[in-house]
């Protein structure tokens, strides 16, 4: 192996990717993103759904450049290293629906697996419950993998298929920059208060998104894959990336707390930023999300990177997640964060529709799991 190839291999590994995310996510908070939400694929896709008017929750509307950066970064890396390959073909409606329910689960917890790790690094103990739920969902999903679950194989497709999501997102980004408001009462919507109003400058967000996209595509970084590989084949390569993410995010939070006036680390369950301390629903939401992620083949971040490198199936899942965010807010399924009113803690969590949706989602995923198992044969 040449020196250049050795260096590239050493550079693009999950530990380096985890470290990059762990350092840059708290910095994004420093630059303006919501607390403990430097990066959150689920929350950011939800904000993008809001920006397009797919839901009208006025506090979570912003066309997040990080998401576009992830896809473009993966696209650039795949082109440069000749890995871009347009492919699609297996069970699009099932993948879309899994995306919908994965998002509902994530919004009941209030975060994707990446944000769960970042919340943990910021001292939010609810993240421990969420991560346990995520692991439980992954274990359930692995049970289906052992029974032969699969959604069929993807096949090579015309280039337009693989280009669709990168092009659509780039067009959206250009539109938000060039025509930020189509008209009065029309998209793009942009929150004036709440998490949607908190964001780093566009170019910083986009640059960090692209950087993460390049490294994640090259290293195959995936939180769900990390748990799955550890449990199935006792391989901890991807898991080391997750551990690196938590340690470096924790260290960066402490450093920022020392160097700035803001608090980046507070150890507690209650009243954490954009989080609730309803233990059961933190757990159950992530069981649903974890199960849906395993059945669809990867965490939401990984689905974005796969979309960037031409995977049309992953792009369908991403669109499902965006639709899921719209449903979650239009039907009142997303959880409400904890809040302090007149000095008293009011514990947040999902309302009844959200609880029912999590139950239905788990039933749906179990149904998909059973009905798509045992099909190994050529066909």
């Amino acid at each position: 192996m040449s020196k250049g190839k050795k260096l590239t291999k050493a550079l693009f590994n999950p530990i380096v990717t985890g470290t990059i995310i762990g350092v840059l996510a708290p910095l994004l908070v420093h630059f303006g993103n919501p607390p403990n939400m430097g990066i959150c694929v689920a929350c950011f896709e939800r904000d993008m759904a809001g920006a397009m008017g797919l839901h009208r929750a006025s506090v979570v509307q912003y066309f997040r450049p990080e998401i576009i950066g992830f896809v473009l970064g993966a696209f650039i890396a795949a082109i440069v290293w000749k890995e871009w390959k347009s492919r699609t073909g297996s069970a699009p409606l099932v993948r879309f629906s899994l995306g919908v329910f994965a998002m509902i689960g994530a919004l009941v917890f209030l975060g994707c697996p990446w944000r769960a790790l970042l919340r943990l690094a910021g001292g939010d103990l609810n993240a421990v419950i969420g991560l346990l739920g995520l692991a439980a969902g992954v274990v359930l999903g692995i049970g289906f993998l052992r029974r032969g679950f699969n959604l069929g194989r993807a096949r090579p497709s015309m280039p337009a298929t693989g280009l669709m999501l990168p092009v659509l997102l780039t067009a959206g980004l250009l539109l938000t920059v060039l025509v930020p408001k189509i008209g009065e009462g029309l998209a793009f919507f942009s929150s004036q208060q709440g998490p949607g109003s908190q964001h780093a400058p566009l170019l910083i967000s986009l640059f960090i998104g692209i950087l993460v996209g390049v490294f994640a595509q090259r290293s195959r970084f995936c939180t769900i894959g990390a748990i799955r590989d550890t449990l199935i084949i006792r391989d901890r390569r991807l898991l080391t990336g997750i551990i690196a993410l938590v340690i470096t995010a924790f260290a960066t939070n402490l450093l920022l707390s020392v160097l700035t006036d803001a608090t980046y680390f507070r150890l507690s369950f209650a009243a954490q930023p954009v989080a609730h301390s309803s233990y059961l629903w933190n757990f159950a939401g992530m069981v649903l999300a974890g199960l849906a992620f395993v059945l669809s083949g990867g965490c939401p971040g990984r689905q974005l990177f796969l979309s960037g490198e031409g995977d049309g199936d992953a792009a369908v899942f991403v669109l499902g997640m965006i639709a899921g965010a719209a449903l979650a807010h239009n039907f009142g399924l997303a959880a409400i964060p904890d809040r302090i009113v007149e000095g008293s803690l009011i514990t947040g969590g999902p309302a009844l529709p959200g609880m029912v949706a999590v139950g239905l989602g788990i039933v749906f995923c179990l149904g998909v799991g059973f009905s798509c198992s045992g099909k190994y044969r050529r066909g």
Binding site: F12, N150, R220, I232, Y376
Partner: protein
Amino acid sequence: MTGAGYALLLLPSVSHALLSEKVVKAEGISCKLIPTPREISTDCGIVLRFLKEDKKRLENVIEENGIDFKRIVVIQ
């Protein structure tokens, strides 16, 4: 441990990999599931690694069991 002397069976899904390992081991062929090497595929899934001299036998076992697979890569 993906060096010369080995070959890799690339499969459409993790489920296919788990089943392949089971049927191949049942035939007494030494094999191991490993993460897909990134030089081989962008997939974050897993592949079945085996000794390249067992390639023909393994192909037969996979074919006999009707398991769908993508391709076999012999590590040079």
